[in-house]
């Protein structure tokens, strides 16, 4: 047997591929072979390690050294110095190990250890290898659930854990599953919503790219608990790599007997189909998504009936977000009590965030519910870029609210933020520094909604168009204070009368920007 001295993990995800990760990988493998180290050094592909703006990232284990901004030109030096001679190349090393990887309380200054539940394997295993997923506890929870638990025991555990929907609505997952399990119908479906369209959000993409097997396992458990034997993953058409990896993972799972008939000898049959979206933001809404799977225009449906009773092709359908589902194996394997150790009283567990905009280190993080915006920006995001001052953060994507400095110390979870007329939404945190023009930002958000309004209901179709007219006038310094009032009036009407959350959410960015920056906006009008 060969003695492997070092493992070199190379992050192959959407961001690093742009930076040339494939070329670096080739160079690395060639150079290792050239220096005769192929028996001792293993190069492994992995998903995102959480660093999104530092080019190609390598991690060398067992030392746990992070190298960033690597190009093929640096590879020979790196191989010779570190992998052959064992000398760390300080010049290429990440100056400070990012806080998001340091999970002990001593090092972060945070109150508790930061758990990784959803992202546990992301950046550590090769997402294209089912064996590695299995070695990292993959499918163990499914085995436990299918061979030793009854469906209602699983539902009770998920309910007790207090897991809520991570796509934004925060509906209790256990309750949803319970309702679905009680509907008497031989045909039921479980749908995973991976139509991540909220601007600035790419957490689901990186979960899918980093650990696709976790999602498959979660859907098997969800199907078994609710009586659904067919799963669909509706995934954004733009996410080529996610689709590719998920399809490979599904094929591998089938060949291992983890999907198909009589899984784990339990008599339970289950399979998954991947559906590719075609570019419509409104399809993130569950009933619009269902319409789209049926091959139609993605218009939202009337509720009730809810998908739980009549969803896909009129059958009971459970729709869960990628991140929500990815929590399930941990709950089944380690129990609800363990899960509840993290988070706040009303929202247990963790939340995955993407931190973007004017921060020093943008990226993907997982922290427990209740972490403050201050900790996220200054501990995990490395503070504001170029030493500037914090102006505000747009939290929850375009359908979220601008949060000013007074919100920095509010504990962020789904319930708590709602009390402040804000929303955690999809977990996108776009940070803006003091130089940001708020009118311009609002203009970008409103144009986005006008483009994505599906045209189904009048308040949203016309409301978004009127809002764009108003903000364009204001931005061109041709508006009046009446136009500013119009922004509030129209978005309030839309909140009360729009058919689906798309039109109802515009009030959040509009009212929050006026709350903090009314003077700045009024200064632009006559």
């Amino acid at each position: 047997m060969n003695m492997v001295r070092n493992h070199v993990l190379i992050s192959i995800d959407a961001n690093t591929i742009i930076a040339g990760a494939r070329a670096v990988e080739d160079a690395l493998i060639k150079e290792i072979a050239r220096q005769g180290l192929s028996q001792e050094i293993v190069v492994l592909e992995t998903g995102s390690v959480g660093i999104e703006d530092q080019g190609v990232v390598l991690v060398v284990y067992p030392e746990g050294i992070y190298y960033t901004n690597i190009t093929p030109a640096e590879v020979p030096e790196l191989v010779e110095e570190h992998l052959l001679k064992g000398r760390v190349v300080h010049r290429l090393m990440l100056k400070e190990t990012p806080k998001r990887f340091v999970i002990t309380k001593e090092k972060t200054g945070l109150m508790k250890e930061q758990p990784r539940i959803v992202l546990k394997n992301c950046g550590f295993i090769n997402p294209e290898s089912i064996d590695e997923a299995i070695a990292a506890d993959g499918y163990q929870a499914a085995a436990k659930a299918l061979s030793s638990m009854k469906p209602d025991e699983i539902i009770a555990e998920v309910k007790h854990a207090g897991l809520t929907g991570r796509g934004g609505a925060a509906f209790p997952t256990g309750l949803k599953w319970e309702f679905a399990s009680k509907v008497d119908n031989p045909v039921k479906y479980i749908v995973c919503n991976a139509d991540e369209g909220e601007p600035g959000t790419f957490k689901d993409r990186l979960i899918l790219e980093g650990d696709p097997h976790k999602l498959i396992e979660s859907m098997i458990i969800g199907g078994y608990a609710t009586g659904a034997t067919k799963g669909f993953v509706y995934i954004r058409g733009e996410y080529e790599l996610s689709i590719e990896r998920l399809e490979k993972a599904i094929a591998d799972a089938r060949s291992y007997g983890l999907l198909g008939t009589n899984i784990f000898d339990s008599g339970f049959d289950f399979d998954i189909t991947v559906m590719k979206g075609a570019g419509a933001y409104v399809c993130g809404e569950e009933t619009a998504l269902i319409e789209s799977i049926e091959g139609k225009r993605g218009h939202p449906r009337n509720k009730p009936p809810y998908p739980i009773t009549a969803g896909l092709w009129g059958k009971p359908t459970i729709v869960n977000n990628v991140e929500t589902l990815s929590n399930i194996p941990e709950i089944i394997l380690k129990g609800a009590e363990n899960f509840k150790k993290y988070g706040t009283e009303k929202c247990s567990g963790t939340k995955v965030y993407t931190i973007l905009g004017h921060v020093a280190t943008p990226g993907l993080i997982e922290t427990e519910m209740g972490t403050t915006l201050r900790d996220i920006i200054f501990e995990y995001g490395g503070g504001i870029k170029d030493g500037k001052r914090f102006k505000c953060a747009l939290v929850g994507g375009a359908a979220g609210a601008f949060l000013g400095p007074d919100m920095l110390d509010v504990k962020m979870d789904f319930v708590n933020l709602r009390e402040y007329a804000a929303a955690l939404g999809s977990g996108a945190i776009l940070v803006m520094d003091e130089d940001t023009d708020i009118v311009d930002m609002l203009k970008s958000v409103l144009h986005f909604f006008k483009h994505e309004s599906c045209g189904h209901c009048v308040p949203c179709r016309l409301g978004t168009a009127r809002l764009v007219e108003l903000i364009d006038r204001i931005a061109a310094s041709k508006g009046t204070s009446k136009d500013v009032e119009g922004l509030t009036r129209i978005s309030e009407t839309m909140k009360d009368t729009s058919f689906c959350p798309l039109g109802q959410s515009l009030i959040l960015p509009v009212s929050s920007s006026l709350k903090y920056f009314k003077d700045e906006i009024l200064a632009r009008v006559q």
Binding site: N15, P199, F202, M275, A278, M432, H447, C454
Partner: protein, 168 residues
């Protein structure tokens, strides 16, 4: 994986439209009489032709048992689909919030000026089409731009021509 797989590159530049129809038949065969697979079938058809001409729509309609009017409704609803021919290379500038805040609008203006095309237009030589996309999930590298399937991050206006020139 079959010839008609969605990940395959558009071959519309090498073959005439007439030569593509037998391939379309193969796609339709996979989805025959399955109206709910319309979107998947349209993805594949568009990959083949580069756009969805009326004749393609009619063939898909017959094969999948969906009315032409419904197909038109679906095509015009989703931003992925187009009924007009596109350039050989699609240039898409991201204007998602993260790119916007880091200068995506300036990138778009510069690209438009260099190509002499407005958003939605195709250049006269049919080399490029210019479009705007809303967040491609490469926010860490904002501002981002897509040329065909290649993503370019942290696009600087001085680099734009260099990038575009690679696509003949």
């Amino acid at each position: 994986m079959s010839d008609t797989d969605t990940n395959h590159e558009c071959v519309c530049a090498q073959l005439s439209e007439e030569e593509l129809y037998p391939r379309l038949e193969l796609i339709i065969e996979e989805h025959r009489n399955k109206p709910h697979e319309l979107i998947m079938a349209l993805h594949k058809a568009q990959n083949l032709f580069g756009y969805l001409p009326r004749k393609v729509q009619q063939m898909v309609a017959e094969g999948l048992k969906v009315s032409l009017n419904e197909i038109y409704g679906v095509i015009t609803f989703y931003s992925f689909f187009s009924t007009v021919p596109k350039g050989r290379h699609s240039v898409k500038v991201c204007l998602g919030t993260a790119c916007y805040v880091r200068g995506g609008q300036q990138t778009l203006e510069k690209v438009g000026k260099e190509l002499g095309a407005k958003v939605g237009d195709t250049t006269e030589d049919r080399r490029y089409s210019l479009d705007v996309v809303r967040c491609i999930g490469a926010c860490g590298l904002a501002p981002a731009m897509l040329v065909d399937d290649d993503v370019y991050g942290r696009v600087k206006s001085t680099k734009i021509m260099e990038i575009l020139d690679q696509y003949k």
